[in-house]
């Protein structure tokens, strides 16, 4: 019963304690990592469950609810954040200057707290607060290095994020004035297609687009995610953008399925497709490793938006909608594992090679073999090749595309996979290349920096092999629209 509260309280407590512990903040991982994994695991075993903070029920009090979807995201976050934390402890220990070591830990736990709050909240105002916390921590993570380039990236992030927050807040206010509540369970079924509501929903969606970096609101993401230190990049690409997508996903499938007309879902699908195309082409054009991975995130987030047309707007029950919905969830989870693994592996490679130009990567397959293998496994999942969670997601969504007869979305899914192969095999080629004799030597890195990416990449692979349990988990308490389609 208390797991949802604990899932928020644990990282929150750790966040506060980091201020006290200062230089020794990384020690907090020892209690927090096992405890969070245990709490998330127990919660996944006991869904659906809810916890009213202080015993006050909604709409007066704050209720944390965990259905299968929420539990799956909390569990994924626990695994990915634990990995990133363990990696960061070693990564920052090797750095010369220590200022960013201080700043990283409170921000790390703040992101974790905010993400779990978002996954477990059923109230639009709480979501707003958590989203603000998440965004502020994320912006600070981008600026962690303090270099001019990163500050510029962070400022650009601020612009987009403030627009997003403002739009979201106005939308929430409009909803409150129309229905007198912001509790999603209470709003369910009450929302009607009035003009004020439509404006509100449009604003909220646009705000969340900006925070999820959906094309054409993506411009902030590549410099921010590519510029941050490796553990921060992993945190941003794997978790932060997923949290804002999660709100959008919940909102439409749980609260507003009846408002999702043909125009809306096609618009979402088209933006998603453009993101896949644009992100992939930009990734192909990059000459540095981290921008490739960052643009890959722009592309991969695009797939998530295909769920709206694939599960939507038929006016009657659509048997394939559940496949599309599950596929989107699997894609979000698999991408989190794979992208975290890839950014962390890239971090190890950059430490070994000294910089992240593709041209200096030759021979890394020999100096950091485990990280290279992890990079390859993560790439397999991002390309949507079996056996991986990315493949299962693609299979489910493709099947929905064919079953619904809207095969043009299948072209996006398959074409996006091929483009991903093009941009991911560029660094992979370099890993296989023999290093020139006169090239500067490659350094060894600590084994933690190679093992953590491997574990996370194996997580992405396992999600596609041991997929029956996660598949059943996310279906627990899923909304009607997840079974029958939007509207």
């Amino acid at each position: 019963m208390t797991e949802p509260a604990l899932a928020v309280a644990l990282p929150l407590g750790a966040c506060l304690l980091t201020v006290v512990l200062g230089r020794r903040a990384s020690w907090l991982l020892w209690p927090v990592v096992p405890a969070s994994l245990a709490v998330a695991w127990l919660m996944a075993r006991r869904v659906p469950t809810a916890h009213a903070l202080g015993g006050w029920d909604a709409p007066l009090g704050i209720v944390l609810r965990a259905d299968g979807l929420a539990a799956a995201f909390v569990l994924m976050t626990a695994v990915v954040a634990s990995g990133i934390g363990l990696y960061a402890a070693r990564y920052f220990a090797t750095a010369v200057e220590t200022r960013r070591t201080f700043a990283f830990w409170p921000l790390f736990y703040a992101v974790w707290t905010a993400a779990n709050t978002i996954f477990l909240s059923g109230d639009i105002f709480n979501l707003y607060v958590a989203l603000e916390l998440l965004t502020l921590a994320a912006i600070a993570l981008v600026a962690l290095d303090g270099s001019t380039r990163n500050l510029v990236a962070a400022m650009r992030y601020v612009l987009f994020a403030l627009f997003g927050s403002l739009a979201f807040l106005i939308g929430a206010a409009l909803i409150y004035s129309a229905y007198g509540t912001l509790d999603m369970a209470l709003l369910q079924g009450r929302v009607t297609a009035e003009p004020a509501t439509l404006v509100a929903v449009g604003l909220i969606s646009a705000g969340l687009f900006a925070k999820t970096a959906l094309f054409p609101f993506h411009a902030w993401l590549p410099p921010a995610h590519a510029g941050a230190p490796a553990p921060a990049s992993a945190l941003l690409s794997a978790l932060v953008v997923k949290a804002s997508f999660y709100i959008l996903f919940r909102l439409w499938f749980d609260v507003l399925p009846d408002l999702a007309g043909a125009g809306v879902v096609v618009l979402f699908g088209v933006l998603g497709s453009l993101a896949v195309l644009y992100g992939s082409i930009q990734a192909i054009r990059q000459q540095r490793l981290k921008p490739i991975i960052a643009y890959s995130t722009v592309a991969q987030l695009g797939y998530l938006f295909l769920v709206f047309p694939l599960a939507g707007a038929g006016g009657e029950a659509q048997p394939w909608a559940n496949g599309a919905w599950s596929g989107a969830v699997f894609h979000a989870l698999a991408h989190a594992f794979a992208k975290a693994a890839m950014f962390l592996a890239a971090g190890a490679m950059i430490l070994s090679a000294g910089d992240d130009r593709l041209g200096s990567m030759a021979g890394l397959g020999k100096s950091v073999p485990v990280a290279s293998f992890a990079f390859g496994l993560a790439a397999v999942s991002l390309m949507g090749l079996p056996p991986s969670g990315g493949f299962l997601a693609k299979y489910l969504m493709l099947k929905a595309a064919f079953a619904s007869g809207e095969v043009w979305w299948a072209a996006v899914l398959v074409g996006g996979g091929l483009l991903a192969a093009v941009y991911l095999f560029r660094p992979l080629n370099e890993l296989m290349r023999t290093r020139a004799a006169d090239a500067p030597p490659l350094a060894r890195v600590h084994w933690t920096l190679e093992a953590v990416p491997l574990v996370l990449a194996l997580g992405a692979v396992l999600l596609g092999l041991a997929s029956l349990e996660p598949y059943r988990l996310i279906d627990v308490g899923s909304p009607r629209a997840a079974l029958e389609g939007l509207s």
Binding site: P369, L385, K399, F425, N429, G464
Partner: protein
Amino acid sequence: MNAWLPVLTLATSLLPALIIFRLPDHRARARTLVNLAGAVGKLALVAVMLNGVAAGEVYETRWALAPGLDILLRVDALCLLFLTLSAFLWLLTTIYAIGYFGDAPNQSRFFGFFSLCVAATTGVALSGTLITFFLFYEFLTLSTWPLVTHKGDAKSIAAGRKYLAYTLAGSAALLIGMVWLESMAGPVEFAVPDSLLQLPSLPLVIIFALLIGGLGVKSALVPLHGWLPAAMVAPAPVSALLHAVAVVKAGAFGIVRIVYDVYGFDLVQSLGVHLPLAAVASATIIYGSVRALFQNDLKRRLAFSTVSQVSYIVLGTALAGPVATVGGLVHLVHQGLMKITLFFCAGALAERIGVTRVDQFDGIGRAMPVTMTAFTIGALGMVGVPPVAGFVSKWQLGLGGLDAGQPWVLFVLATSSLLNAAYFLPLVYRAWFVPPVAAAPRGREHGLMLIWPAAVTATVALGAGLFAGFAFSPLSWAQLIMQRFYGS
């Protein structure tokens, strides 16, 4: 126990891969031990299952990915045909590769991916559902890539890029075909008769084209064959693996599965898709042979020969008659034995006396007698000279063509055999009967592990032809499969 055997078979190459990846490069002895233990263990398991399946046993393991979507590993007669071949050739190729590489660098990486590749091939053979097949088929694509690019120079990287461009485009076609089919028919399990009969025929024809097109990349059907000659830059054991054990065979095997176990004869015939496939296969047979004729580089000549020979399997399958089926299936084994012999020889010639081109063949029989004897047997087999195994394949295919009412097949076979003779016999003649050039590079035959695998496979190829009538010969096994297909 029966449920564990398929998993164990997979584990005999998966576990060695994981162990070998962790071994440092200098632990050559440990690596060899793990490699050979896995290969011998797999052969033992295969022997047990051969006996069992002949007696009607069923071995299968199921694992659900999502409700209704199963990974299914199942041992049937067709599976064992491919599995036995790959298990046997894996053992020999491993021994050969150990001899070939000596103490070259990066061997742990090489043998790790090599074992992964064989694990994937085993999975392809064991697959009992379409999605399982796709899973292992892609696993094979990915685990082969580091072998093609193994040397790490610009040429290898470029060959790897070409390999991926072809195979990933092929897998996209395969994926679309598979998902489209399953969106109409539900998850497809092999050998469930009549499961597709209710579906409209136009989509079925398009899906057939997509599936065969996707598989045709690996089995090197013209015009999808371009990656195969390019991949010749890889080390010789990799060529042996690509051409005989794993990659092209996985494509051909997949085509057999699609025709017999997904669509089924009756449906293929009523859709009328078998004759276009037979025509493509015939065109590939002739085209590959003609191109082989003009290659001066030995490995490229052998590569185009593979393009041609693998399509015999496809041709036999596409004729969709019982006798032709046997011819196609038996050639799956025979081509593997003969082609791996030739590649083993080509690698040994290049390593020991530096011969990589056809015009260097003069008189090399004296320097490399064992190798060139094996080469001669393999080459004669390819031409179809009795009693080597290739003759049995061609004989069956010819009979099959007549039996299926397609006598033009005889013309294709005759033309191809003439062309085979034209590009193989001059090699044999030069090696044995032309005196060596005085300035030829000198060297001699040595190294047990590099030389003898070719002799073994050549002997087996000879034996498979001589003893074709005995139980457990490739021919008898292919007849067993055919009887089970036709339910008689």
